[in-house]
Every structure is written in structure tokens, then in C-alpha cells.
Amino acid sequence: MDLDKISVVLRPRTAWEGIDLGFAMARHWFLPLWLLWWMTALPVYGLTLLLFSGWSWLVLVLIWWFKPLYEPALLFWMSRALFDDRPALRSVARRWFSIVRPQLLGNLTWRRFSTSRSFYMPVGLLERLRGRPRKERIRVLGWRKQTGTWLTVVGLHFEVVLEMSFLLLMVVLLPEELRWIDLEGLFLTPGSLEEWLGQMVDLLAMSLIAPFYVAGGFALYLTRRTELEAWDIELSFRRLAARTKPGKRPFAGLAASLAVGLCLVLAVSLDQPARAAGIDREQARQTIDEVLSHEDFGRTEQVSYWTFTGEVDEDADSGWWETLFELLGGFTKGIASVGEVLMWLTAGLLVAYVVYWLASNRGWLAYRPALGRRQRTAAPVTLFGLEVSPDSLPRDIVGEALRLLAEAGPRAALSLLYRGALARFVHQEHLEIPESATEGECMRLVAASRPDLEAGLFRRLTGLWLDLAYGHATPVERELEQICREWQRIYGGADEQ
């Protein structure tokens, strides 16, 4: 390994940058790497096809499984190309078995499931370590294992995406008339054509990703080793050593090419290295200041010139603005006061309306009798066609009723009694009965405001009267007599009015 010939820039990198370096390498050397991959993969594919032509899925699994067979050649070629020695593909083919052989069994069985395959591949194939040293080596490198795993995971996804893309693209781009494959046939019920297509596309996707995968792992490995073994420092030291000639100090001619600051510091040390080391900070600063104050390092100059600094007559300007603002201010103030007046007016109107509304709807708030008292003047003269004014009635209602009962029959007597009772309630007890009230309403009003005894009598009267008036049922004489006696008991024999 001759680091001087390395064809990539070595520097400490993050793991991701390492992978990117690998991808750049893979792109740079894509064609040889791709051909190398096919060199192994195609025969393997042919062989599996011959052996297991009936089982398409098995062929797919096997060509995937044998990936560790295809990849070593790529790695080998890259490890040479990295140091500027590109072996011919033919020579790689000739040495193919010795390249692939190390730990082939392990690679194809238990280590096939290693998630960092391409990262660890250089350890086995290039360093040819096995067993304990290999484990030890991987432990040292292992700190970047995570990124190696991600490389595998993402690479796998890339492969699937590419494969799907190719298949889909093919289906989409086929003209409608030539539709000899369709999506359903491709993915669900593949015939022999679809199977063959699937395998080819699978191989193609794998072949495209493989160089990137191998190179990514290899670059990750390089990055880690660069960090562990300071390859970049070694390269730089070698260049420096090549320039240094022992016993001689080849400076004077080179001084001009150096950076100014460096030149200053070193210029002192060049002539007398011993003194340079002994110089103290104060002296150095003084010297530096002296040198820097020289005209070559710039000087201070005073230059005066005219420059536009803006409008001068600001007074007039601001005055104008002020008046405008005042005007505007007055305007807004005016609007504000008008608004205030309007607001108070609206409030007053609202209050007035509320008061008016309350006044006009007092009935809702006050209790009922107040309403009645207001309408007090209009005491009814007739109720449902019956005269109830006291003038139309005899003074002794009960006596007259008994007389009528004996002479004209119960109908006239009952009529008189009912009218008498109503007149009594309206004119003596000042009960508010509107002219429009019905018999039932009268009864309810009486019941609500008179003692039970009177109410009971009136209820009986009303019942009899209703039966008579609407049902044409003549009341029983005995009952009428009972009512008359009841009347006398309550109101006294003759009317007192």
C-alpha cells in the first residue's frame, strides 16, 4: 500500500460523508465495477436458471442469496484502483477464485445475514483476517457499525424501488395495442414471460446498486482507518519530509510565497532561531506594531467631501404636516364628539323605550285584580243574553222564585234564580265578570273569589241551568226548593239591598 498514490482526498470525515465518498467512487468507476458484477452474477444466474427453471421464486432468492459471490471482485478491483493501479478485468477474472475464496462458506451462510456486510468485507477480503483477529479488528472498526447497517437497509430499499420503477415504467410505456404484460400479471399471477422479466429487472436493479453498496462500505472502512491511523497526517508528513533536506535550511528564497503573518513571525526566527525563541511578548508586540505602522500596511487619511444628507427645510415640511395632523386631529375629535352625542341619544332612546314597553305591558308584571279594577266601570248589563241589571229583578228573589215554581213551573224559577245569583255577584260583590264570559268562566271566577258555600250553591245552579238551557232537561222541583232554602240560609230571606 503506497499512500502517496491514493486517488481520493483523505481527511477526517463523518460516517455519512464517508458513504458519500464511496458513492462518488462508484460513479467514477461505474462501468468496470458494473461489468465485474455481471461477470460473476450472469453465470450464477444462468446456473440457477438451469437447475431450478421451474421454481421462479427459488431463482430469485438464490440470485439474491449469492450476492457475496459477486461483490468481492468489485472490492478487489476498487482497492487496486484506489492506489492508481487499475487491473484489467481479464486479470481479475483469472484470479477470481482466490479473490472470492476467503471465508466463502461463512459469507454464504451465517454471515449472509450480517447487516454491515459491505463495511466488514474489506477486513476479510483485503486484510485476510479470520477468527479472533477478525473479530478484534471489527470491534475496533465497529464504532461505525450503525452507519454500515443503514447503508445495507437503505441499499435494499433502493434496489426494491429501482426494480418496481423499471417494471412500472415498462408497463406504462407499452402502447395499448401491444399490451402483452399488465400489472396484475406481473405482480399477482406471473406467467413465464413475467417471471423472466421480473428476474431480469431484479438483476438489473441489483447490478446498479451493487457498485454503490460495495464502494459505500469500502469508503466507510477507509474513513474509519483514516481516522484511526491518521492516513491524512501520514501523507502530509511525507510531503513535508520530502521537502526537508537534512542539515540545510532552505528558506530565503521561499519566504515571499508565505502568508504575511507567518512570514513576520518566521522572519525573525529565520536569521537567528535561538533569539527567536527567547524573544518575549512585549518585544514581539513592539516589533509587530513598528512593522505594522509602516506605510506599506496602510495609513490613515482624512478626506472631506460633500454628501447629500437629506432635505434641509424641515421646518416648513414638518409645519405642513403638523397642520395636517392638527386638522386631522380636529376632524377625528369632531367625529368622536358627534359619536358621543349619538351614543347618549341612542342610550336615552333605549331607556325610554324600555320604560314605555314596561308601562304598556304592566299587566304581565302586575297581578290580575289591578286589571279588573281598571275596567271596573264597565259592569255588564247582560250575560249570555240574560239580563243581570238589578232593576230587572225583583227584590225578594227567593220568594218570587218559589212563587214562579208553583205557578209557572221550574224553568222560570231556575232562570230567575240564576239571573239573581249573577246579578248579585256582579253588583253586590263587585265581581269582575266581562260581558263576553261564558257560563263556565263565570262559575270559575266565582269559585276563585267567593267562599266555598256560595261557590257550591252557584255551581249547582249553573249545572241545572246548563242542563236546562242546552239539554232541555227540566230541573226537579224538589231540588229547586232545596236551592231556595240554601239561598235563604246564605243570603238571608229577603234581599237587603
Binding site: 458513504i19 433502493f158 420503477s165 412500472l168 415504467l169 454503490f212 491524512d232 519530509a241
Partner: protein
């Protein structure tokens, strides 16, 4: 690679957002479905744009330590971010970024079609440089004149001393035997001394 991981993170974040939106608006019936569709549209097209213009990177890219800039190194602007995210649709074809992947693998700067169209570049966000501790040694000026690169590698040698094995350190120091005039552990010590001198300790 990094971009794929960043994309996966972003896709996960977006999926969570979609689910959240769907749950919130699912109670609104027909109007809710309209809101869900509008929300998905807005997130799908403007989620990357907003983040890229604001901070140069979507949350996924931020986590992976990368960001989007113009080809000339200036921060990405509205038009270019819009273009690169609208062309995303072309990158996505035929399925799951098939074209985008191929373009990136074939392109020198890992640009996908959207990056090519908008003139943008996805780069690593430079982390602030962390200088390692220099091993203790009496400062001593290097005997020869050194280029900036030489000085840098001397400093790196000292700073990375704890990463290197003892033998490898000696091996490296022996390369400069002509400069130091010493070999073995003594040479290593001398190089440390130079590094201390270069770092400004006198």
C-alpha cells in the same frame, strides 16, 4: 443515503400530521373530508418549502445534519424551494422516487431532478469545529519553515494523539526524522512541542 434517511423521517412526520388531521376533522362529516383533503394538499406541497425557506432544512434534514442551499452557496429562496419541491412529482415517478434515485446516483453532486431544475444543492451543515486537547509539552518552535498545510497536520497529529496507537504515533513521527532530528518517542514529543508552539503557547 443521508437524504433517503432524512426523507424517511420527514415522511413519518407527515404521516403523523395526516393522521392527526384526519382524526380531528373526521367528526365533521362531508365538510371534514374537504378539510382533510385541503390539509393533506397543503402539507404535501408546502411542508418542505416552508421549512427550507425558514431554516434551510426540513426536520428530517435537520436531524441528519444536512440542508438546502443554492448552487452558489447562498441560502435557498422561495422560488427555488418551490421549484425543487414541485419537481418532486417528477422525481417520484414511476414509483417512490425511481427517477430521483437514478438521477442522484448519476449526478456528480447527488442532485435529483428538482435540484437540477431549481439550481439547489443539498449539503452537510458544517458543524462548529471542535479542537481536541493538545498533549502537554514545552512549546518549541519548529526548526523549518512550514506551509499552512504542514502546520495544520502537525496540530492534527497532536490533537488526535489519543486516537492513535503509540506505535502508529512513533511511526508517523519517524517520517519527520529529518525535521526533528530524533526518532521514537522523542520524535513524538518534539512534534507535540512544535504543535504547542504553533497553537500559540509560548
Amino acid at each position: 443515503m443521508v437524504r433517503a434517511c432524512a426523507w424517511a423521517i420527514d415522511a413519518a412526520i407527515r404521516a403523523v400530521l395526516y393522521i392527526a388531521i384526519s382524526i380531528v376533522f373526521a367528526f365533521l362529516g362531508g365538510v371534514g373530508i374537504a378539510f382533510i383533503l385541503i390539509g393533506i394538499f397543503l402539507i404535501e406541497w408546502f411542508y418542505p418549502v416552508l421549512f427550507e425557506v425558514n431554516s434551510g432544512a426540513t426536520p428530517g434534514k435537520q436531524m441528519m445534519g444536512i440542508w438546502v442551499i443554492h448552487d452558489n452557496g447562498t441560502p435557498v429562496s422561495w422560488p427555488s424551494s418551490l421549484v425543487r419541491n414541485l419537481v418532486r412529482a417528477a422525481d417520484f415517478l414511476p414509483v417512490l422516487y425511481g427517477f430521483g434515485l437514478l438521477t442522484m446516483l448519476a449526478n456528480k453532486d447527488f442532485k435529483r431532478l428538482g435540484d437540477l431544475a431549481a439550481g439547489t444543492l443539498v449539503v452537510y451543515r458544517e458543524q462548529p469545529l471542535q479542537r481536541g486537547e493538545l498533549p502537554d509539552a514545552a512549546a518549541e518552535p519548529p526548526p523549518a519553515e512550514l506551509t499552512v498545510d504542514d502546520q495544520r497536520s502537525l496540530l492534527e497529529f497532536a490533537e488526535r494523539s489519543n486516537l492513535l496507537s503509540r506505535d502508529r504515533g512513533i511511526e508517523l513521527a519517524d517520517i519527520l526524522a529529518k525535521l526533528t532530528g530524533k526518532t521514537g518517542q522523542q520524535a513524538v514529543k518534539t512534534l507535540y512541542a512544535y504543535a504547542n508552539w504553533l497553537s500559540g503557547r509560548r
